[in-house]
Subunit: 96 residues, 2 copies
Amino acid sequence: MIGICAQFTIQDGKAAEFEAMLTEFVTTVKAKEPGATVYQLCKNAKAENEYFMLELYADQAALDAHGKTDHMAALVAKIGQFLAGPPKLVQGPALF
Amino acid sequence: MIGICAQFTIQDGKAAEFEAMLTEFVTTVKAKEPGATVYQLCKNAKAENEYFMLELYADQAALDAHGKTDHMAALVAKIGQFLAGPPKLVQGPALF
């Protein structure tokens, strides 16, 4: 398994739109990608406009496939207009 | 649901001991805490001595209970000797 935590900071006033876009995206991931065993968007309770995504993939192939999906390409094309800065990512093998 | 990503930086030379301690701890969480629906330690593939924990709790009660367990108290008493700095935490409600 491979784990990722991705953190996003959103521009002021764009949280609702961002959440709507991510609702659709996460719903698609959960429906189409059985290898994405955990895919959970959370709101940072201590920081306005900050979100984080908890992700677990069954294996490297599932992660690779995730990166090549049409819905990921569509998200990447749109997400920039919401971000206040580059996402922060930690990624690596799940130990146990 | 409530999500947490906790990031740890470990002192040089202590990774193996840290992993052994966390193996025991995570195994206990998974065995004793059904409200901890995801509890996954991962190694940061891009940074030596860095780990992150992906955590999801069924509700606030599960998170509160987690904080009051004997195994958490035991971990808190031991973990300081391994850390190169304070853990970094993001926490908040899971949106969907």
